[in-house]
């Protein structure tokens, strides 16, 4: 046992405590994570919107120019910000009650989300310059080029003359490809048809500032449309803020539980990748490590001190710990990200022990196969043909991913839960689906089948290992390996 542990410790140290590994598996993800935070933190300190907006109002009655002046009036902006804050407070209080958190906590989370989304409640200092309707737009373009003017907006009756059959939804549709108004918007923009206005800007204007200016124009244009239609704009905005919320409930054999959207839809995929990455990491190191021991001829030296079985078990434990460490790092980073974006309560913590169990099964299977291949060949390119069957086993879970995610209770999903090479991945995907419940007997049965599969695979791998480690020369075929398993 002491020898096995000594080998495991060396395997772990020689893999996990190298600069290359620390950089690849630890520093790199941390850098990406830190970089993402850093960039978003930098973005929060964007410069305030300040400058001159030239408005050419050619509409009948010329009401839009003054409306824009009013829109960017500091007093009006302050009023809007207060309204928004009041709304946030109200929403925060509601959510705090629902989640059992303090309102301050929820509010800080909302503020964070808003700033992350680029919603800015800071007042903008926009000077609106109204110019006569007949002013030449070309001369105004020159002023944007020098940067003296942020942008020039020209609104006329074409903007207002809306064909009533053209309906453009106010809120963007979740699936952009399916949005019927998208092509319409593009057509209007390109042809300058009804509903369009001119927006001329220089290169210095930041996209978010341009967006804020356009938002203002859109607001006053819409308000004017409401007014022309005989509706009070305030009424429209008040009505559109009333919530419509779906309360979804999933009915299961064992009762009911609420489901939430968002992160949970991604969970099976996230857990599959987590399991796959850590298993492959450990398995790869097992393959390369064994191959190196063989090609550097250190194998027989080690076998003079320990038996082939001790070496095999020690190596598997050591690299298994590497795989687990990788999994812990990525899971930890994932949870840190989830908590940062207030999604932590959607991460099913009760799944983590099962993740460990299925990691052991998946790693035991793939790891021992990779180890056997590593021990059978002397050079990497000899391993190519032996890897083909393993590659198929590795791809299978991904082929099953979509069907299992769409219907975790299907016959296919349940059958794949009893086939050792796909079992751990499919089970993790099924377990991480909140709307799917797996009976306990099925869970335990899959673990039993998985453990039996691992025992058989390790037994076979040990036979190949015992023969292969001292076999140099002609690389064995897959059939030869089977012979070793039968005869050794």
């Amino acid at each position: 046992m002491r020898k096995i542990l000594t080998i495991a410790v060396r395997e772990f140290r020689s893999t996990a405590l190298t600069k290359a590994f620390l950089f690849g598996a630890v520093v790199f993800p941390l850098l990406i994570w830190g970089g993402m935070l850093g960039v978003s933190a930098m973005d929060f300190k964007k410069p305030p919107l300040e400058g001159k907006l030239v408005v050419v109002d050619a509409t009948n009655g010329s009401k839009l120019g003054p409306a824009l002046v009013q829109y960017f009036d500091p007093e009006a902006q302050k009023q809007r910000a207060e309204q928004a804050k009041a709304l946030i407070d109200q929403a925060a209080a509601q959510q705090a009650k629902a989640l059992g958190k303090s309102p301050e906590q929820v509010k800080s989370e909302i503020n964070f989300a808003m700033s992350a989304m680029g919603i800015n409640l800071e007042p903008a200092k926009v000077v609106v310059e109204l110019v006569p309707a007949e002013t030449d737009v070309q001369s105004l373009k020159q002023r944007t080029r020098t940067g003296e003017v942020m942008a020039v907006v020209r609104i006329d009756e074409r903007t207002m003359a809306l064909d009533p059959t053209l309906f453009i939804p106010e809120q963007p549709v979740a699936d952009e490809d399916a949005d019927p108004s998208r092509d319409l918007r593009r057509e209007l923009r390109d042809k300058g048809g009804p509903g369009t206005y001119e927006f001329i800007q220089g290169t210095q204007l930041r996209p978010d500032h341009a967006g804020a200016l356009r938002q203002g124009v859109e607001r006053v244009v819409k308000d004017e449309r409401y007014r022309r239609a005989g509706v009070e704009p305030m009424t429209v905005s008040a009505l559109s803020q009333l919530p419509v919320v779906a309360r979804s409930t999933v009915v299961t054999d064992t009762g009911e539980r609420s489901s939430s959207e968002g992160l949970t839809r991604m969970l099976p995929f996230i857990f599959l990748m987590l399991l796959y990455m850590s298993v492959m990491m450990g398995g790869n190191y097992l393959f390369y490590g064994t191959l190196e021991e063989k090609s550097s001829r250190v194998m027989e030296v080690i076998l003079s001190a320990v038996s082939a079985r001790q070496l095999l078990i020690g190596k598997m434990i050591g690299q298994g710990l590497v795989g687990l460490m990788v999994m812990a790092i990525y899971a930890g980073l994932g949870m840190a990200a989830a908590s940062r974006f207030n999604l932590l309560q959607q991460v099913p913590m009760d799944l983590l022990p099962w993740l460990l169990v299925y990691f052991i099964i998946a790693y035991g299977l793939i790891g021992s196969l990779m180890l056997a291949v590593g021990s059978a060949v002397t050079e990497i390119r000899e391993a190519q043909s032996l890897f083909t069957p393993i590659t198929i086993l590795i791809i299978l879970p991904f082929m099953l991913m979509i069907p299992v995610m769409q219907n975790p209770g299907s016959l296919l999903a349940r059958a794949a839960s009893f086939f050792p090479p796909t079992l751990p991945y499919v089970m993790v995907m099924r377990l991480s689906q909140p709307s799917h419940v797996i009976p306990l007997w099925e869970l335990l049965a899959t673990v039993l089948v998985g453990v039996l599969g691992v025992i058989v695979t390790i037994w076979a791998a040990a036979k190949v290992f015992r023969v292969g480690v001292l076999m140099y020369g002609k690389p064995p075929s897959f059939g030869t390996l089977l012979k070793w398993i039968r005869h050794a």
């Binding site: 002491r2 020898k3 000594t6 080998i7 060396r10 020689s14 190298t18 190196e292 021991e293 550097s296 001829r297 250190v298 194998m299 027989e300 030296v301 080690i302 076998l303 003079s304 001190a305 320990v306 038996s307 001292l470 140099y472």
Partner: protein, 332 residues
């Protein structure tokens, strides 16, 4: 004295090929034994069976009084023929790792590694990675890895291969030293000269069968061909000298030796060596006259059919190839 290794009727087959055939072998404790044989004779297979890396198909092997080496691995030091180091590991770490694997306690291990590195003239390599060492230095590190745990029994498979003369001498000195400390040592080798200098005991196998087993002196007397080497004085006529020697009583045959200007006289089994030598000197003046001792090389060549040794075969083939090449050149 008890036996460190006791091999009885051991046979090992790989597919149809019999690598070791009903081998019996006893290695007395405290002896220094040479294990000889042409390439492919079954030496490495036998050693691997002693180490329980291969299991024999038939027969039994007792090592250090146990039924298998697995039970006494920590008391055996083994330098395999296929040997290497972890290239990325530091020399000191590698040696400590091997020692711990063989059950050595960590306390004082570091000092022990240092003192051994000093002894093999590698004082400053401890912190270096194994891949930074030259091949000869790596060989010495591998040797240390085999003996770092003070084993009672040391098995060295071709310890001299790849060593330059200086390091080969150092290796011989270390082996002798370890032997003087009372350890049992077996080494296989092609270098018959080393075996002759070092060993108290020799065994030789060929085609998986033992063909020789005994002490050096026993073997020498057994295979002493009783041959005189004669270098006649010039001027007297080489053939005349040969003729006169052939007439001396006790001389069986006279033939030209490989060396230019020397003759070899094979004596009859019962010939009185002193009398024959006196008779030769009185018959014809000679520059040199000596009784040749049997070398292991003689024994080796005598016992091993040239076809048995891959090396000999290969040498013959390459020689023929070279000659053909010369002929082609001459034609051109």
């Amino acid at each position: 004295m008890s036996d460190a290794i006791e091999i009885q009727g051991v046979t090992k087959r790989f597919r149809e090929k019999v690598a070791v055939d009903r081998l019996d072998l006893r290695v007395p404790a405290g002896s220094l034994c040479g294990f000889l044989g042409p390439n492919g004779a079954g030496k490495t297979t036998t050693i691997r069976m002693i180490m329980s890396i291969f299991l024999p198909d038939e027969g039994s092997i007792r090592v250090l009084g146990r039924a298998s080496a697995v039970e006494s691995k920590d008391r055996i030091g083994y330098l395999p023929e296929e040997r290497g180091v972890y290239r990325k590991m530091k020399v000191g770490e590698f040696l400590e790792y091997m020692a711990v694997l063989k059950g050595v306690d960590r306390t004082g291990l570091s000092a022990k590694v240092d003192s051994w590195l000093e002894r093999v003239a590698l004082p400053d390599v401890r912190k270096k990675r194994c891949e930074e060492l030259s091949k000869g230095m790596q060989q010495k590190v591998q040797f240390l890895a085999a003996i770092i745990h003070d084993p009672e029994l040391i098995i060295l498979d071709e310890p001299f291969s790849g060593l330059d003369p200086v390091n080969a001498r150092l290796m011989r000195a270390l082996i002798e030293e370890l032997h003087r400390e009372g350890r049992t040592i077996i080494f296989s080798t092609h270098v018959l000269h080393s075996a002759e200098q070092l060993c108290s005991r020799i065994f030789m196998i060929n085609k998986g069968k033992k063909i020789l087993d005994g002490s050096i002196d026993e073997i020498r007397s057994q295979f002493d061909p009783k041959t005189l080497v004669i270098e006649p004085l010039e001027g007297d006529g080489f053939d005349g000298a040969a003729e006169s020697i052939r007439r001396v009583a006790g001389v069986q045959s006279v033939f030209h030796a490989g060396q230019r200007g020397t003759l070899e006289a094979r004596l009859t089994d019962r010939a009185d060596v002193g009398g024959v030598m006196r008779d030769i000197v009185s018959g014809a003046p000679v520059r040199r006259l000596e009784l040749r001792r049997a070398t292991l090389e003689d024994v080796f060549v005598h016992l091993v059919d040239p076809g048995d040794s891959e090396d000999v075969l290969r040498a013959m083939l390459s020689e023929r190839g070279a000659t053909q090449g010369l002929e082609v050149n001459a034609d051109a």
